[in-house]
Amino acid sequence: MSVFPQPGTSLGNQGPTAYELQQVVEKNTSELVSELANLSDRARIQAIRSLPMSYDDRRRIRSRAISVKTSKNIFNIDCTQHVSRSFRRIGASVASARQWLVVWHGTLKEIGGRFGTSVLSYFLFLKWLLKFNVFSLIINFCFITIPQIVHAPNISNVTGFRGLELLTGVGYFNQSVLFYGGYNGEVIVSEPPYNMQLAYFFTIAAYLVLCGVSLIYSMSRSFQKNFVLESGPVSGGAWRLLCSWDFSVVNEKAIQNNKNNLGTQLKESLSERLQMKHTMSVSERMKYLSLHVLAWLLSLGLAVGSCAGIYFLGIDQLETSKLDHNTNDLTVEASTLLLPVVVSLINLIVPLLYSLISIMERYSNPRAKIYIGITRNVVLKMSILGILCYYWLNSVPQKMACWESFVGQSVYRLLMIDFIFCLFGTFFGEFLRNVIGTRCVPSLGVPEFDIARNVLDLIYAQTLAWIGIYFSPLLPVMQVIKLFIIFYVKKFSLSMNCQPPKHTGRAAQMQTVFIALLFFPSFVGALSMVAYTVWSLKPSNYCGPFQGLQTPFDTILSWTVYIQNLPGTHWVWWIFENMLRNELFYYLVTLIIFVITYFLWQITQGRKELIRTLRQQIVNEGKDKAFLLNRLQNTQKQGRQKESFRNQEFDQTPHFNPNWINTLPLDM
């Protein structure tokens, strides 16, 4: 059995003999070996790994390639090869050690086996967010919290611990290291001196920058893997038949479900094809368009209304509560929970209203419906967060003494209440719905696991966590615990109550969309809020590491003045002054990026054109092949006819037809 793809022997019995085949295989092998011998070690390993051969064949080719290479290198550069080989071994053992740190491997395998890849993508997303938070927790703890706890116990515990603190974050936690107010910006006298202000600033900045880089990298990788060259409906039978079957599902019932779904979808696509596509009249189109416009107006109106309500509620709370840090009144404290509860209720109810609204609209394809639903939900959630940020950055600093701690506590409360609502939502949304769907109203059926809604909830919570990081460095603790618990709750609810979604097309594109959403409104928004706080707002005078300064950014300015005077670090000051603070530098960089983008875009256009021409060429080659086959068959047929004719006539001489050109088929 030859391992190289052979052209099909479609010319009938004129295939090559066994000896010729062997020659061809040997020639191909030696070409491959000489190619491999010219590569570097690392590239050779990669190339051999991706050969579609059995393991023994690959080992043979590898040993041949290595022997060719060593015979070429007479002066054996043994040392560098040895070093690079040992580095590779170290890398391999680090990678295998990392395997042991993979958490939840068995659980994820079970979920993928029962519910398929698209539901698994939710849990993988959750795990990925968990990594961000664990990293943040570690660096904040090491660089900010531990120095503060060890060296500057400047906190005064006003009240003892009551249970309500876990929800509201005030009282016992008020001046603790959980919030901004628990840190002071003194320079810890040690060898070398440790500047808490700089540590606070740089730790948070470094974490946000690393997050941004990681998000951009994941987004571009995902986009590259999932980018489809040709747009257009890939809902045809070929794709569904050959590419959509999920091999990772191992549960018998789930496989039966998938088979039924596939059958239903194939039947649907057949019936769509058989019936004529009926074109809508102008009046019908106007009607649907006006319905769309009305639906959008309603959705935006709901969003704007919720934002206004939240803003005025916040202002009202600020006026009436006057929450001073010394109050012991439980009811006043509990009233601070009103705003988070209202926000979570809005986040729960308004998306349900949106799905009701979308029932009245008509979409050309179901994917448009999903994307429009996602857009509306994102607009709602981000506008709520936006109005909250506006309230925190504009109204709160004037009214409160230690306003950063207040903001940190508000974020803490929002996260806690969101978590409680998530648990309740799982209970009511999935468990009760399952009971209703199976016992009371059987026509509803078992609920499907709504991936989009759950992922958007995760993105919302993560945005809050990113916003809160500046105001409450230990907030990731809460987020980590919360994500852990949500993982197990969702998994349990999934296995008891839900079934996998029926329409699983294009799950990979949805993944890309979710990562893009995590980057664009979510991370960028949080980053801009923190950047605005650091750059322009006056920090509170009596608490926190930046007390007394005009803006927190002033610490960097004073630090650069300090290092300007130090010998040997003049270049750091030079970079800071002439590149980072210079607008001209940014204009130049932007201009260069625009030019490069334009070039790359032109290259892409050229490649698209090339693909189109190559496709046309394939079609033409197919037609050529058909034509040649036809001619060959005709010539053979005529040859046979002449044979039989000649045998009848007992004529031994070969008969040459000078008019052979007229025997060509007419349809050339």
């Binding site: 991706s50 040709e230 050959l242 079957w245």
Partner: protein, 172 residues
């Protein structure tokens, strides 16, 4: 040694454990002498990862050297490494093509598609619908007009289906 491909060394060891479990009397624990042992098809398709898969026989046959489904340990590792998450798309496409090519003629013809469809849907579709779906599939994917799908046609279709990398994946 180039033993670990797209899976790392610890997984390689656990694969050896799984392979040994399939036929404990046949597979030795000690592989240093590189024994020539092949586990037959009937034992391999009983693995929990493959048991319910509609294509289990074709998968095992495509990775075996003799085409009958008897896998040596190296073939076993090959199989799970191609089906793992990290195998490149081209490699997966080559083996997926082999799996769907039931009559092993290097083309996916109409009969191959009909067999695939029957495995995927059982009694849902009537025979006429089956024929219609297969014809439509070939019409859509066939670029060079020879009424069957060559590897190039198949690969072109795969490039338009980014989910393929994640669905053509068996976790072990």
């Amino acid at each position: 040694m180039n033993r670990s491909k797209h899976i790392c060394l610890s997984l390689h060891c656990s694969l050896h454990g799984r392979y040994h479990e399939l036929a404990p009397h046949l597979v030795p624990m000690d592989y240093t002498n590189d024994p020539d042992v092949k586990v037959p098809l009937a034992l391999i398709v009983n693995m929990p990862e493959l048991k319910e898969n509609p294509f289990r026989n074709r998968i095992v046959e495509s990775f075996s050297e003799d085409g009958q489904g008897n896998l040596s340990f190296n073939d076993f590792v090959d199989m799970f490494s191609v089906l793992s998450e990290m195998a490149p798309r081209e490699l997966k496409a080559i083996y997926a093509f082999k799996i769907y090519d039931f009559n092993v003629d290097n083309y996916i013809c109409k009969e191959d598609l009909e067999k695939t469809l029957n495995r995927l849907t059982k009694e849902e579709l009537t025979p006429e619908e089956v024929v219609l779906v297969c014809e439509k599939a070939i019409e859509e994917a066939d670029l060079d007009g020879d009424n069957k799908l060559s590897f190039a046609d198949f690969e072109n279709m795969i490039s338009r289906a980014p989910d393929f990398l994640s669905t053509f994946h068996i976790r072990i």
